[in-house]
């Protein structure tokens, strides 16, 4: 396929996804019936695939799809017993791709309601991720089931239970307002993050990482003033930029310092760096020093790595500073470990060893091979090669896989 045709196909797929999201979101708002909304949207898309190659593209494809889906929903509801009000609302659902006027004070994109409802904390976490994939990203239930390592019928039951709870416990189809919105947003972002990691892990579904990036972009358009939403997209892009370099041909993880940096996706890195500098500018415009959120800090750390020519050329002082802030926001042993490593590069191995000893004081990292490997690395750079080699062997004894064990034993032998 030529580039132009590939681009046209991508644009058509993106338009179809957006139309699907708008249709599902509007039909759920009016009918309250999640399954009906999904079925009607699917049928409209199927009919489009059937008709458009024959009849040609309609003037307003989004409006065409919305009308078909609406008519299908009307047919189904007329056959059942349904309140006249719902039928009336459906009948006036605009013929354009725009949705009917929201009945409430604030004009909110229906898709934002859909995202907040799918990510409601009263639903089990795994169901939130699955429901988001199914309802917003239109991913097939079988594909979601495979990523979660369950059978399709189990996943279908899980999705049905979640939809039943939304209906029966009356989880509102609404974006929370006021302080509740700020309280709920981190939960929404956590679902997106989990969705991304399902795409990023070795046994995951790579397409989910792309879905997470698209969702973060949509959320950023719908909530432009929320810095953490944009920061999360930057973080996704930076992690995703290493997708071709982070595994060797056998599928084993390649550590950052041994990755072929020419294979990183520099367009994605450029986009992420652009997002972060815009965030920095708007932070500076705000009155007073704005506190950076956890995703902004993680993204800045990832950007330092992504824009460095090598490990030695990395801006470790900036990374150490970001970890200091992150450790204050989200104190946990793994962040403390990374903080110690960063300080080791920024201010010398003794500074790193000192922080590492404090991070390990509670015993939380005792069986964590990376903590021992970090101590080994810092010890080697501090000059005690014999002790460092012993530590690398101790880390290897606790390694989780053959590749990790081999890599750690190689480090011991190199000393």
């Amino acid at each position: 396929m030529t580039d132009a045709r590939a681009a046209a196909a991508d644009a058509a797929a993106a338009a179809a996804t957006e139309a699907y999201q708008r249709i599902v979101a509007a039909l759920i708002r009016i009918t309250g019936d999640w399954t009906l909304a999904e079925d009607c949207a699917q049928e409209a898309l199927a009919l489009a695939l059937d008709r458009w190659p024959v009849d040609g593209l309609p003037d307003n494809p989004g409006g065409w799809l919305m009308t078909v889906a609406r008519n299908r929903a009307l047919d189904v509801l007329r056959r059942g017993t349904v309140e006249r009000r719902k039928l009336r609302e459906l009948a006036v659902l605009a013929l354009t791709a725009a949705t009917a006027e929201p009945e409430r004070e604030e004009i909110v994109d229906d898709r934002l309601r859909l995202i907040f409802t799918c990510c409601h904390p009263a639903l089990p976490l795994e169901a939130r991720v699955a429901l988001t994939l199914r309802t917003i990203c239109a991913v097939a239930t079988a594909d979601i089931a495979r990523a979660f390592l369950v059978s399709e019928s189990t996943m279908t039951r899980r999705l049905t239970r979640a939809k039943t709870k939304i209906t029966e416990a009356r989880i509102p189809y609404r974006v929370p307002t006021g302080p509740a919105r700020a309280e709920r947003l981190p939960g929404v972002l956590a679902v997106l993050y989990l969705l991304f990691t399902h795409g990023y892990n070795a046994d995951g579904e790579p397409a989910f990482a792309e879905e997470a990036i698209r969702l973060a972009r949509l959320l950023g358009r719908l909530m432009p003033d929320q810095a953490e939403v944009h920061a999360l997209r930057a973080l996704f892009l930076l992690q995703h930029s290493r997708r071709h370099a982070r595994r060797d041909p056998a599928g084993d993880l390649v550590p950052l310092d041994r990755q072929d940096r020419s294979r990183w996706d520099h367009a994605a890195i450029g986009e992420a760096v652009g997002i972060l500098s815009e965030l920095r500018e708007s932070e500076l415009r705000e009155s007073g020093p704005a506190e950076s959120g956890p995703y902004a800090l993680q993204a800045r750390i990832a950007a330092c790595h992504a824009t460095a020519a090598s490990v030695a050329d990395t801006d470790w002082i900036r990374i150490a500073d970001c970890y200091d802030q992150l450790a204050r926001l989200q104190p946990n042993p793994v962040i403390e470990l990374n903080r110690a490593v960063a300080h080791g590069y920024a201010y010398g191995p003794e500074a790193g060893l000192d922080l590492l000893a404090r991070a390990r004081a509670g015993g939380a990292l005792d069986d964590y091979p990376l903590a021992i490997a970090a101590e080994a690395d810092l010890t080697a750079r501090a000059g005690d090669r014999v002790r460092a080699a012993d530590l690398f062997r101790a880390a290897a004894a606790r390694a989780h896989g053959d590749a990790e064990r081999r890599a750690l034993l190689d480090r011991a032998d190199e000393l």
Partner: protein, 112 residues
């Protein structure tokens, strides 16, 4: 929509030292708003009696039907527009900090 709030104890209560909300203020506020229809605190579990009927025989026994560390110590019946409103009411109950609260909607037999 009616929701029942089960007010329970919890083995790990809140450690926040700020004073907890006053239960009488909570009751008065939500009675006035129309969100709390009724409710009561319950006597200790040592006073509980369990009743079953099997093959026409009434079986009465001492104690609660489930032996758990968390006990139901009271309930409140709410009338709320949706789950978020019920969560907001539950959040301000003193036992949300001292214990935990389970919110269950009324069954909708017409729908299922």
């Amino acid at each position: 929509m009616k929701y029942l709030m089960f007010v329970c104890t919890d083995t790990e209560p809140d450690t926040d030292p700020t004073p907890e909300p006053d239960i009488n203020v909570w009751v008065d506020r939500h009675d006035a708003s129309g969100q709390r229809l009724q409710g009561m605190a319950l006597a200790p579990k040592s006073t509980a009696t369990t009743v079953r009927v099997r093959n026409g025989q009434t079986l009465v026994s001492d104690g609660p039907f489930a032996e758990t560390k968390e006990l139901i110590v009271g309930f409140d019946l709410l009338e709320c527009a949706d789950l978020d409103e019920a969560i907001e009411v539950a959040r301000t109950h003193p036992m949300a900090r001292n214990g935990r609260i389970e919110i269950r909607p009324q069954a909708d037999w017409d729908r299922s």
